[in-house]
Amino acid sequence: MSVLEVRKLQKSFGELQVLRDIDFSLEKGEALSVIGSSGSGKTTLLRCLNFLEKPDGGQIIVNGEVLFDAADAATQQEKQIRKKRLHFGLVFQNFNLFPQYTALENVRLAGELLAREREDYRTGRKAVLAAIDEKARRLLDQMGLSDRADHYPHQLSGGQQQRVAIARALALSPDILCFDEPTSALDPELTGEVLRVIKGLADEHTTMIIVTHEMQFAHDVSDRVIFMDGGVIVEQGAPQDVIDHPREERTKRFLERYSGN
């Protein structure tokens, strides 16, 4: 069974149709890259999955559970949406770290707040918080940032900030981790460290959807690639097929423009 199944997903902003009948599925442990030019709907797709935009049509199914169905209002209640979001993690293009918290606090915060809702929080508060702290430190260590745990975001480089953001998203153990152009806001010399971390996650079979403009990276890291254009999936398949030997004319043209520069 697929971890994620997206059926006939549609989204418009006013007159502009950004997503038209997007269908795809994702297997557990699979890394999926979404490529395409700006305005093709990639980011909107991620934002719909994370309930930051409300799709106009279609379904989002995670582990067999219908999280969202445009035709069923019962799946769209505010209160439940908050819980549903936790199936997904999202790493933003601009990191969006909380500036008033240290790296470690950024990674811990959401977990601590969620723990308050747990039944054993009152009795086992210390143990719960210790576990959250330990996990946060482990994740920062995994990101190669254990010596930056007490730094505030403005004291970190862009690459370091993005790695903290990845740790923060991983701290809640999402089923599917989404990346929205994770290196687009970085200086070229800083993209490598972030891409290496994501590659490391792929090697551990973290289930991921990566929206990216880094073709070589998409080629190396993903099990499957989706090429989007004008709000539809034009082509999908193994990176060796889609990127090295595209079948569709639109994919070819897009890739030519990329190899050109």
């Binding site: 969006n96 770290l97 500036p99 008033q100 809640l172």
Partner: protein
């Protein structure tokens, strides 16, 4: 009249001025937040109807556009803010003090209370706009980051947004605090004995130094405030 008698008389005015300042802040700081949330309220009761009507007709009319945009809570609050910010504080003090009695034959409020109520409402309106500016200057991404991490709206406000807003509004709020110190002198129009009134009363007796004394009082008051605001800014400078 001895020096100490003068000082004691001035001290009465001083207490009134200082009390008015602190009580106004105590009321206006939270009330400003309420007004701010009111003016940012998105409730649009006709939006759905207007959308359906527009879809049925296949085009937008003036009425459907109005229906989508009409946010009654926000509109009412913005109207009140406009009135309060758009008219002189002195008139507002007079109206609050004399208005209820002359219009409805209600008993007069105590002078100080009437002044305090006016100041709280007036300053809350100014604060609300500063808060709104502060809240809207926080990048949308902060809220979205909180959302995807499963935080509730109130958790996002208190744990993520609030401190960033506070940091940004310290300088403009400092301006308002200092203006408030000096605005307190307006309450003399309904004969609340604030410090300038007291100082002035000695002019008839041929003494000018009590008036200088009151001016120095204002200078010292604002100097202390400025120092406190600087401290707040420094305390908040650990993040950007």
């Amino acid at each position: 009249m001895t020096f100490w008698n003068v000082i004691l008389t001035l001290a009465q005015g001083l207490t009134n001025t200082t009390r008015l300042f602190f009580l106004t802040l105590l009321g206006a700081l939270p009330l400003g937040l309420v007004i701010c949330f009111g003016s940012m309220n998105h409730w649009a009761p006709f939006a759905r109807w207007a959308e359906r009507a527009a879809a049925r007709r296949g085009e937008e009319t003036a009425l459907t556009r109005f229906g989508k945009r009409c946010k009654p809570v926000s509109a009412v609050v913005k109207f009140i803010v406009w009135i309060v910010r758009g008219s002189p504080l002195m008139i507002q003090i007079l109206i609050v003090y004399y208005g209820p009695g002359l219009l409805f034959h209600w008993p007069l409020l105590p002078r100080f209370s009437a002044a305090l109520i006016t100041f709280i409402i007036n300053y809350a309106c100014y604060f609300s706009e500063i808060y709104r500016g502060g809240i809207q200057s926080i990048p949308k991404g902060q809220q979205e980051a909180g959302q995807v991490l499963g935080m509730t709206k109130s958790q996002i406000f208190f744990k993520v947004t609030l401190l960033q807003v506070v940091k940004r509004i310290v300088p403009p709020m400092g301006n308002e605090f200092i203006t408030l110190v000096k605005d307190t002198s307006l309450v003399r129009v309904i004969a609340v004995y604030e410090v300038i009134w007291m100082g002035e009363s000695f002019i008839k007796k041929g003494m000018i130094w009590p008036l200088f004394f009151t001016a120095v009082f204002y200078l010292v008051f604002t100097a202390v405030l400025t120092a406190l605001l600087d401290l707040a800014e420094r305390k908040l400078s650990y993040f950007k």
